[in-house]
Symmetry: C2
Subunit: 333 residues, 2 copies
């Protein structure tokens, strides 16, 4: 920077002004300085910038590298962040890199706020994080913590799916649980409520699982084993999310079960995956872009006014009917 200033015959301060696009420099000086900078190959150093400025205007996003829905969310964040003048820094959780590590990485890079996609941490930890910095949880309600949250009205989505399945004649509807995954508790609760409301308590069944393909595959195996043991298959399965639904489909189809003739499968998220199934996955759609925009906005607004109370955005989900669902099979007499 000093080199640029020297070569352009101005002070460092003026170079700074020009690179920050601030008023206080004449047009011709601006052009000259920029030209010189280009020649020298100077580009401002962000680290120093942040340090001097005190603010980084950077949002940290923690996501899970294999969670396809997160990709949709991340993609939705960039434009909104840019619009508001913020940068986005990503940090992935992965095998051997837990949420704590991922978040620490973000914070130590001076992110002013942290947006957590489907956080799995304990409420107390999230609360602590929310006190240390501005935090937003996407996909999981954390009402007890000092954290904004953005999620869909899980109950509503599940209810739509359940009503739809019941309407199609399904009675034995099983739910694969998302474990500690975001939104799982609400989905589970809504499933239970819907079964009761439709007078199907007797068929109510929640199979423990999580938000991965593996979980769907295992459930598939379990159901097949039960069938071979003489128990009938359920006629419909409400999976914890799309990935789980995909795993289930794989396991079942491989074993000769025909979807949706023998059994209907409904996912959750409407991630890119849903379109991928040859017949398309029936699923409950969460609007990734809208969620992403809300999350960014929450973070920025809290940054601008630290006193703001944590808020919650609840978006409406929507059932998207594709090929994996259909009328319940005729019951054998």
């Amino acid at each position: 920077m000093a080199d640029v200033a020297a070569k352009a015959g101005v002070s460092r301060a003026l170079v700074s002004i020009i690179f920050r696009d601030q008023p206080g420099a004449s047009q011709e000086t601006r052009e000259r300085v920029l030209r010189v900078a280009d020649e020298i190959g100077y580009r401002p150093d962000n680290a120093a910038r942040l340090l001097a400025r005190g603010r980084s205007r950077t949002l940290g996003v923690m996501f899970t590298v294999h969670q396809t829905f997160h990709a949709d969310l991340v993609e939705g964040m960039y434009p909104e962040a840019e619009r508001l003048g913020y940068e986005v820094l990503l940090s992935a959780t992965a095998q051997g890199r837990g949420e704590v590590k991922a978040v620490e990485a973000l914070l130590s890079h001076r992110c002013e706020a942290v947006i957590l996609l489907g956080p799995d941490s304990a409420v107390a930890d999230l609360d602590a994080l929310g006190h240390r910095t501005v935090a937003v949880s996407v996909g999981r309600r954390v009402p007890q913590a000092r954290v904004d949250s953005v999620h869909t009205a899980e109950g509503k989505g599940i209810r739509q799916a359940m009503d739809y399945l019941v309407e199609l004649g399904h009675r034995r509807i099983v739910h694969i649980d998302g474990g500690r995954g975001p939104g799982s508790a609400e989905r589970r609760r809504a499933y239970r409520a819907a079964m009761r409301r439709h007078g199907l308590e007797s068929g109510l069944r929640v199979i423990p699982g999580d938000h991965t393909e593996q979980s769907g595959i295992e459930t598939g195996r379990l159901l097949l084993a039960e069938r071979d043991g003489g128990q009938p298959l359920p006629t419909a399965v409400l999976a914890g999310n799309d990935r789980c639904a995909m795993g289930l489909l794989m396991a079942l189809t491989r074993a000769g079960v025909e979807v949706p003739r023998d059994l209907s499968v409904v996912g959750y998220d409407d991630s890119h995956l849903s379109h991928l199934m040859p017949i398309g996955l029936t699923t409950v759609r969460q609007d990734a872009v809208l969620m992403a925009e809300h999350a960014v906005r929450f973070a920025v607004e809290r940054l601008e006014d630290r006193e703001l109370e944590p808020r919650e955005a609840v978006l409406d989900p929507k059932l998207v009917v594709r090929g994996t669902s259909g009328p319940a099979p005729e019951e054998p007499a």
Copy 2:
């Protein structure tokens, strides 16, 4: 930091030493300082650290948020980077955020090296980047640029797949091209060569496409339209990558084409997707973890010795036979 030093009754320098885990402090002072820091809630500021240190020990990784194979790669980089004492910063390309933007973000955050997953930029740009900093291209050979590269022996993989298909009796084997995608040119070339080698020039056909599901879907539609126009379907399709293969499968299966009875499909990458298909996708496996480790190692080694000439790691791919491939259908007399 000054607060910690004051409260612990030592100098800032000593606190620094302790937080850097360097020799020069007694065990008891160490413990005391760390305890005080914890009480105050002090954590060292990375930006200032980088600035003062001159080195960031940070590797920047540019990836595409929806490219599933990239997720596998990213996951493989973290452990290796950590082992070598480097941090990893991610920057995604996405709609409206091109490679230039993504890389600028990395550089301005003081990444010492940039690892590009499947870069699409012009060779000249990559070369320029390679001169400005240490750069590694993963999945694409860039022999003309000052850039390390890590990729699989594309030709070998395609050859294996082709030999396998021909052995199964396939003659009309079509290739969906990956466009400007990484490795596409080599795969295309190898496909052509294999067709010739097997005396199948007459059936040689490259359909333009890219590395997305959409491209597979479109090709599927095209082939179906041709079939309806009286032309026979190919008996096997070699897709540009797994995503493309998935799209193709979706389009075909929807239209009643049975895979692999009527037509075999082979993908490329062996990303997580491949396991997802109910019947499993036959594909050419690239070892993501190995590629990731090579890429990180290349970057670090070049950082440690700037004079090192750019190198190239060529890994052996491996055909993984799953459910989407089988014997060629009987030709109608």
